[in-house]
Symmetry: C2
Subunit: 357 residues, 2 copies
């Protein structure tokens, strides 16, 4: 087995955590007898933008389209290029251009990690956020009128399509149906956002009727964020629009200890184009260059990539190695986990644990 992976470190701590992700992927490949052929690309970075005035080369679809997967760090360096320019010029273009319509983000309180919530132990927090990843509130339609005057008005469109809503709901219901608790919550705000969100509810209700074996209910996003803090154990699969999924997949990992460990998979379930695997955290300019970024989100994203490629045993081995190192080697933990370790130190410890399994 041989997989071709495009590697895009991006900006900031993306460049520090990606090498640790690769280190762990190689350890898993050696152990489980498959090959990873990687090609690294410097685009989707502020550096590339300064040189080319674009975030991506014009033929990016051809360049990346033939890979089996994309292993992505983080993009964004607002001192040089505004975030909405760098993100819409790269990551958000991949998601839409490669039709990665599911953004899957597991939230789990791991052994060895301390939750900021009282009385919550490993096992208490273990759910999946399924985020719609191509439409919704993240549209680029809209504009400004009466610029620079008192009448200045800005419009931005939220766009939901039946195709777009149904396919992510179906993915989430299928996931829920295969899990022991068979429970699904859809995030909404249909009491306040009066056109798009009632539509989302309507489609979720229709889908729920097709999955009688799944216990499905809805929570408005305001109370849902409150319940993540008050009752995180009540969630199993949470499916949400693009914006709400974005929020829940940062808040969830915070409740489970740190954003630094959270992985994500931008999946094209139809496999017409490569899927993309990246940590939930961003490029973190505030801590970049200091070698203290937590590489676990990147490494865990690598495990999700192997899972997607069919290397299920290797994927599980990486997650087990992460958990054992966090639990048993407090000396290597990065500052966000309460330790004084480095990116490289933690990455090496996990790679070693993978090989030793």
């Amino acid at each position: 087995r041989r997989y071709r992976v495009a590697v895009i470190p991006g900006d900031g701590i993306g460049r520090e955590v990606v090498p640790e992700g690769l280190r762990c992927l190689r350890a898993a490949a050696d152990l489980h007898g498959f090959e990873l052929e990687t090609a690294e690309f410097g685009f989707a970075s502020a550096e590339y933008w300064v040189r080319h005035g674009e975030m991506l080369p014009p033929d990016w679809r051809d360049v990346l389209g033939g890979f089996d997967a994309i292993f992505f760090g983080a993009v964004g360096w607002p001192e040089v290029v505004p975030d909405h320019v760098s993100l819409w010029g790269s990551l958000l273009r991949f998601r839409r251009g490669f039709d990665q319509y599911v953004n899957l983000r597991p939230v789990r309180l791991l052994r060895g990690v301390r939750s900021p919530l009282r009385d919550r132990e490993p096992g208490d927090i273990d759910f999946l956020v399924v985020r719609e990843n191509t439409e919704g509130e993240y549209s680029s339609i809209g504009g400004r009128i009466f610029d620079g005057t008192d009448r200045e008005t800005v419009l931005q469109e939220t766009v939901m399509t039946r195709t777009g809503v149904d396919r992510v709901l179906r993915y989430a219901f299928e996931l829920a149906a295969a899990r022991p608790r068979r429970h699904l919550t859809w995030a909404t705000k249909s009491n306040g956002i009066s056109i798009s969100m009632p539509y989302w509810d309507e489609r979720a209700e229709a889908m729920a009727r097709q999955y009688p074996q799944v216990a499905a209910d809805k929570d408005h996003i305001d109370i849902l964020t409150a319940k993540f803090v008050l009752r995180p154990d009540s969630y199993d699969v949470v499916v949400a629009s693009n914006l709400f999924g974005d929020i829940l997949s940062d808040l969830g990992p915070a409740c489970a200890g740190t954003i630094g460990i959270a992985p994500s998979a931008n999946i094209n379930p139809d496999r017409t184009w490569p899927s993309l695997f990246e940590p939930v955290h961003g490029s973190a300019p505030d801590i970049a260059g200091r070698g203290i970024a937590n590489p676990v989100g990147q490494i865990w994203s690598g495990a999700m990539m192997l899972e997607h490629l069919g290397e299920t045993t290797a994927a599980a081995g990486i997650v087990a190695a992460i958990e054992s190192v966090l639990d048993e080697q407090p000396g290597v933990l990065t500052p966000d986990l309460g330790g004084a370790g480095t990116t490289e130190g933690l990455g090496k410890a996990i790679a070693t644990a993978i090989g030793a399994a």
Copy 2:
């Protein structure tokens, strides 16, 4: 001094907590020598809707417009009328029709209340959420095309105006300038929502230049929700769009123990129309009718109303009474606070404490 107050209990637990709010307001009036003339209205409820097919009488502006303030419970009874119908037919109409463009929501960890966050004590969480309350993501513009087909597409517009954005930002900066920490954070999502949110940032940056004495910074909404959990002590004044403010003002109170105690003031700062005071929590159909709803959010909202009416000492007295009862009388606490008390029991205890001050 004599104030005319319109009382609207609404639905569900609104009807249970409003009487306790009034009990405490009367105790404060007696003690401080002012008069409250109240008139109760049954509209803005599912019951009214069933009878009239509308949430409000056609002349609601005339009926309510002359009052000094509106004391509101909660509206919404989805079994009878869909939430977006009942809310857009009442509460959201008041906010917009009476130009209550600031929704002010204090978040404070009170003595006697246990935060779900580890190691957080009273004093650690004490900030204000200033929510834009008339425009933004809560627009009713949009619609559906190709209904019932695979091409079904739904659009919903976010609307931001310079007037609407600047006035709420100015209010928040003024508030921050008057507080000891003089710190303001604006919520944004300008890296993903690429038209409205960069505009919001632009106006916030312009306003920040007018308030050099305020330390102002921004957080994207995803990481902001995470930081409410991880570092709630780092916030002082948080200003947000309508949707983001909605989310933050449920999540904040959850971090400070319970949604049941959180108050809110829908303020028309120009005083051209009455302001409206209501708890952050909703009508809570799941616990309605059992007499166990927490009345503190309603009572605290009454204190905000008195503050707005100029009865500053009486307002402070109510908040002090709330805090002393929560801290010293565990026997009267409602279930959401970990006790076994009732709505009425807790209301009476606070009213007594007000009178005894």
